[in-house]
């Protein structure tokens, strides 16, 4: 009887804490999205009236639309390249013993320790020396450096949980190492790969600090454009652009979730 009471109390308090955490996490985004539909001139909550005028303004604003395009294709490229590099590194670390393995592991996670500003300035100096600051490479590499630790950690966890007997069975049946990776390993860790891709996309898509130093040829990413915009203007246009950013990120996550299922992604 007593333990039932305690169990019930724990269950209720757990549910309350979960609710609180989810609310705190979602509330800022909800406020921004709701404010973006205002028909007024100021960003307020609750909004004054309902209108899509600020979305129309974003659509008509070349600066924001080109920044959205830049952010999207950079994030997609980063996700793809980070996945390839991250998988190769994680596979090597998980499956082989070699001198300097611990150092490689530490090096791969070092971008999480180095402040993003320092990373941005360092990469800028490097690419200025190479004469490549007017290309996409600094931005791509900067975001890759930020994304790879997340990608590696996720894939390493997937590889660690994977049953290696299946790979060994395939090898016993004379499959080549490449065939084993392609036909056994990759399909087994697919949810981990997709989670890693989401991490990489989101890390790149939302980054401001490193991007501010590495934007190229007049092309600016969306978060940098928003950051500069709010410095001199504070109107619901920012809320509309931010809502579009949230929508793009959610779309990527939901598409992948629909493809492979949320429980496998977790």
């Amino acid at each position: 009887m007593r333990s039932d009471l305690i169990d019930n109390a724990m269950a209720v308090s757990g549910a309350c804490i979960r609710c609180l955490v989810y609310t705190i996490l979602a509330l800022p985004a909800v406020l921004v999205i709701v404010s973006s539909f205002t028909s007024g001139e100021t960003m307020n909550f609750p909004p004054a009236g309902f209108s899509l005028r600020w979305y129309q303004k974003v659509w008509e604003n070349d600066l924001f639309m080109s920044a959205l395009w830049t952010s999207t294709y950079v994030a997609v490229l980063v996700a793809l390249v980070a996945l390839v590099i991250g998988f190769a590194s994680a596979f090597a670390i998980n499956r082989f013993s070699f001198p300097g393995k611990a150092f490689l592991q530490g090096l791969a996670f070092s971008p999480l320790i180095v402040p993003a500003v320092v990373l941005g300035i360092g990469l800028l100096q490097l690419f200025a020396g190479l004469g490549l600051t007017r290309t996409i490479y600094p931005l791509l590499l900067g975001h890759l450096v930020l994304a790879i630790p997340y990608v590696m950690r996720t894939i390493l966890a997937s590889l660690a949980l994977q049953q290696r007997v299946l790979e060994e069975a395939a090898m016993n049946l004379r499959a080549t190492p490449l065939q084993v990776i392609r036909r056994i390993t990759l399909p087994l860790i697919l949810p981990g790969l997709l989670s890693a891709a989401i991490f990489a996309f989101v890390t790149s898509f939302g980054n401001v600090t490193v991007s501010a130093f590495l934007t190229y040829g007049g092309k600016v990413t969306l978060p940098v454009q928003i950051f500069a915009y709010v410095d001199t203007s504070y109107d619901p246009l920012v809320a509309a652009v931010s809502s579009i950013m949230i929508l793009v990120t959610l779309s990527v996550i939901l598409t992948i979730e629909r493809l492979i299922g949320a429980e496998r992604l977790a």
């Binding site: 800028l124 600051t133 950051f227 001199t232």
Partner: protein, 350 residues
């Protein structure tokens, strides 16, 4: 028609026909040229596009590309690429000019290249022939008249006991917004080399201070949501609050106002110095000069005649008001940054 008249008309027509291509070439002399400028973003860049870029494009075929970003990051980008600069023109506030000059990345702008330079008001060009100031923003005390019935009159009034738990000040890390500290010092017998009086007033104001705003937008929101009733803010932003229905009053301290100028610089090694000078000339023209005041209600830096509707909204709207603008030793102000941040943090956070 007389023979003489016929000859006159024929000569004029022939000359016109011969000169037409030259005139056209002259009027579109920057066709195909695109100047790259770092942007401040939002309404600021939009105002410059409308009043500076559009007339230049129409007159000369000159195009201008603004790249939005933060000035500090853009400055580092410029210095890192000084041999092959990513910008032809660079916008920077007064304190950033020191770094630009130290790095040797900007050219002098002389009256012979930009005749409108002669229109800049005395005392507004702080760095000799380098850069042209085109807007001035002031850090002033402000208050919400709905709640504060006894008007503030000086920077030191933020320590008034009736403002308990209702004051916001800019965070000490914001170099320009913290100019109010210089106001506190000079109003109380101090100076840039003796900031102690400022820190004493700040200590007295501590019970009033509810927030150190890390960004202008954050401060704006605090005033808009009536979380604070008084504080130190930018004159242009205070006007923006008024347009949104918040009854914010801008105070003009009689002992002096502390301001920062926005400069336009021509970058060394730009491929298009003549086009850059044309941009500066347009910026300092009547139409160009009124761009920022009309959009954001920041002050002008030349002798341009202010339209009446604009004059009433601007802080520096008469020679008497303009005389209140204090001269600032920016090099010293930046050099003392760390000490200042440490002292303000110590006072406000302990």
């Amino acid at each position: 028609m007389q023979r003489r008249t016929f000859l006159k008309i024929a000569t004029a027509a022939a000359a016109g026909a011969l000169a037409a291509p030259c005139v056209r070439a002259q009027s579109k002399k920057f066709a195909g040229v695109t100047l790259r400028v770092n942007g401040f973003g939002g309404a600021w860049d939009e105002a410059l596009r409308k009043s500076v870029v559009a007339p230049l494009e129409e007159k000369y075929g000159l195009k201008v590309q603004f790249t939005a970003g933060s000035t500090s990051a853009d400055l580092i980008k410029l210095i890192a690429n000084k041999d092959d600069p990513p910008y032809d023109l660079f916008m920077a506030d007064s304190p950033y000019m020191i770094e630009l000059l130290k790095a040797g990345v900007v050219e002098e702008i002389r009256e012979s290249d930009v005749p409108n330079v002669k229109r800049i008001l005395p005392g507004f060009r702080e760095y000799g022939d380098f850069g042209v100031p085109f807007a001035v923003s002031s850090v002033v005390p402000v208050y919400n008249s709905k709640y504060i019935k006894q008007p503030l009159t000086s920077y030191s009034d933020i320590a008034r006991p009736d403002l308990a738990a209702r004051v916001v000040i800019p965070a000490p890390t914001l170099d320009t917004a913290t100019l109010y500290l210089l106001g506190l010092a000079e109003e109380n017998g101090g100076s840039i080399s003796n900031m102690e009086p400022a820190f004493k007033v700040l200590a007295a104001a501590k019970p009033n201070i509810v927030a150190l705003a890390q960004a202008t937008v954050a401060e704006m929101q605090m005033f808009q949501n009536e979380e604070v009733y008084a504080g130190i803010f930018w004159d242009g932003r205070a006007h923006e609050l008024r347009t949104k229905g918040v009854p914010i009053v801008t105070v003009v301290p009689p002992n002096g106002v502390y301001s920062v100028s926005a400069y336009m610089n021509v970058i060394k090694r730009t491929k298009y110095p003549e086009a850059a000078h044309a941009f500066a000339e347009q910026l300092l023209s009547d139409v160009g000069m009124l761009a920022i005041p009309e959009a954001l209600r920041y002050g002008v830096t030349t002798d341009v005649k202010l339209p009446d509707d604009l004059r009433k909204d601007l802080l520096f709207n008469s020679p008497e008001r303009t005389a209140l603008k204090k001269k600032i030793d920016w090099e010293r102000w930046i050099a003392d940054r760390s000490t200042r941040i440490e002292r303000v943090n110590k006072i406000t956070r302990t």
